[in-house]
Amino acid sequence: MACGMFSTLAWLGSDDVALLDVEGLSLAINNIPLLDRVCLSVEPGQVLGLVGESGSGKSLTALSIMRLTPRGARAQGRILFGGRDLAALPERQMCAIRGREIGMIFQEPMTALNPLQTIGRQVAEGFRLHLGLSQREALNRAAGVLARVGLPPESIPLSRYPHELSGGQRQRVVVAMAVALEPKLIIADEPTTALDVTTQAQILRLLRRLVAETGAGLVLITHDLAVVNAMADHVAVMRGGQVLEQGRAAEFRTGARHPYARALLDSSRYAPPRRAPDLKAVTLLEVEGLVREYALPRRNPFRPAPRRRAVDGVSFAIRRGECLGLVGESGCGKSTTARAILALEPLQGGTIRFDGRGAANLSGAELLAFRRRVQMVFQDPYGSFDPRHKAGRIIAEPLRLLPDLTQPEARRRVAAALEEVGLAASDASKYPHEFSGGQRQRLAIARALITRPDLIVLDEPVSALDVSIRAQVLALLADLQARLGLSYLFISHDLGVVRAITDRVLVMRDGQIVEGGETAQVLQAPQHPYTRELVTAALRLDRAVSPQPDLAS
């Protein structure tokens, strides 16, 4: 047998017969091999964490089990589920299994629901399809399921449309659809990746409760080792389409056997070595009472449009050589704050002082001089590069801010910036798509460095990166800061990253800063209730998802 060892181990390790046994699953799409003899086994009532970096084949494995692989896919191997080989089942029988015996939860709650149908109908559809119920009966059952996932019809009627719900509520609807018919197996593909940390904890807690209540097996696919730690009974590590290691979660946490699994664990905990901040350093940026308001669409044509304060009286200071973290959940105003500081958005109030001089609402030459000294790195470097420009041109773009620079000097600077971030000077002639995700973020950093700025604003710079790449970029950022004496404003929703790289941290909520202080201290002993919730959800996830208090209800 292709995968003797793992499945035999799982077999010997428990009295239960495995619910799902994937044996030697290989998959090629248009003759490009993507899965290589994958073996997995899931037992009833247990959670299998399937971890790996992007492109490792986790999602394809899940889609193969569901037989929902993209067109042009060819699979080999066996997928044993309830005594049948799903790989060999006719499509019609597979349709009877999907949704009924195997439920699937997807990553992106914003797009996983049909925008034109009420949530009631979407959940009811499974009942109509598999049990042949009438619309009314099916809606009754749907109401029950939605109540079970924390959306009681009294507060969230069945007649709501997906766009009327928050991201967390939508993901509950997706969960409700997957568990409606009490399937024996649930496959959740990155179910919380698109959610805020506090919402993530709620959804994970819900999944754990449903597994306990129904005795279903759960395959939890994630790139986030904290999620696996908090949830999984067994862990399987994938890379390059192969399962490298499968075993009990407890063993995995303490001593993963495979070197790659160990490296993954190490990267996820990585904190670059950093010098203690110089407390006597001068203040570089000082922000006082920042206000940014948006006009909302008019409700009444005869009254002024309602306004929303995205940033509401924010004040802070950054010293030279310091890294200040700004954390908060999506929509709290952290990116707007950054854009306001960079003079990318007009202000409705407050003052900004940079290096002792006023820097709010600048224009003309003063603005250019300011831009030269304050640069920015975005979350999605690919989106911020013109795909038709070569790397050299992308990096050289900010040099317009230095009109006196000669051509040879500009070329020297581009080469130096590339080498500074660990790329080669010859990479200047490549296009963005020729770089990997991590290399692109290095390019973005090189672009920010080229004007030799004093302050770099980093907006979620490592959020889209795999853990191993993230560790490399964090190391690079720490190294650059030490060598060049840079100051960073580091915006992130990820408290683990903030803990690794910042000296001080500000916690933002609804446009206001609710708490600030030394990073270690704030994360160790949070004072504000919101910070406490955030810290628990992010850094003590295992405790946050324990079945006891259900914050959702």
Partner: protein
Amino acid sequence: MLTFALRRLLALALTLAVASAVVFVVMEVLPGDPAQVMLGTEARPDTLAALREKLGLNQPAPERYLAWVTGLVRGDLGMSYTYATPVTELVRDRLAVSLPLALMALALTTAIAIPLGAWAAARRNSVVDLGIMGATQVGVAVPNFWFAMLLALLFAITLRWLPAGGFPGWSGGLWSGVRALILPAVALALPQASILARVMRSSLLDTLSDDYVRTARAKGLTEGQALRRHALRNALIPVLTIMGLQFSFLLAGTVIIENVFYLPGLGRLVFQAINQRDLAVVKSVVMLLVASVIIVNFIVDLTYAAVDPRLRRRA
């Protein structure tokens, strides 16, 4: 939903007001003397003065505009100079041909395009898809009057199933009227249906790769069920936009097609009125066409809101 409809209705009224002003200015104020235009450059001064008096051109432009608009609102479009009958009557008779023709063409367009586009998308890259795409390519490329001639050649002259032209009127029964409109409607519809089928196909292909279709499949729906219950309605949104735009093409298309088939419709009326410089008719019919396009767009907007719940909240 009601506020949405009211806001749209307000926008509709405003657009109509602006459109009527533009039509009036272009027709009566800009090029000089309408009476001169009607009679030609060799007209005698006294005939010209008489016509000016008769048309009320000696009054100031704002007053004439107001009179015209109030007439429009009451359904009085003035007198035709060449036909010597009220324009309202003229238009009513012609509309009895053109409106059924445009509606039949639109219904045909939809009935051909949506199933065909959906079929091609469901069988993408198959022989069916290739065949449909090839046929619609031809349909887009070939002008509708040429289709009209081919259709007449085949169905009227060779097979003698349908009349080659002319219109017997509705008094002889519904069928004889409809029969006369079948070939023109098909000729009008084919190019439009080809465009719409292609739009439908690509729109459905987009929605078929959307996440919620995968979700539906994970619930246990077959590929066909997921397509019909989830992808199709989402795919119709861009199709509606194109359909709204096509309606004005259909109206414009009637000018040519009515001439090919010798139908006494609005298109022919406008064609003749322009030739005979009958400004009262041209002005009113142009305004009517503008209004119908605006109203169709209003209906499309309402249909949007009916299809897409996300639009009901917004203005």
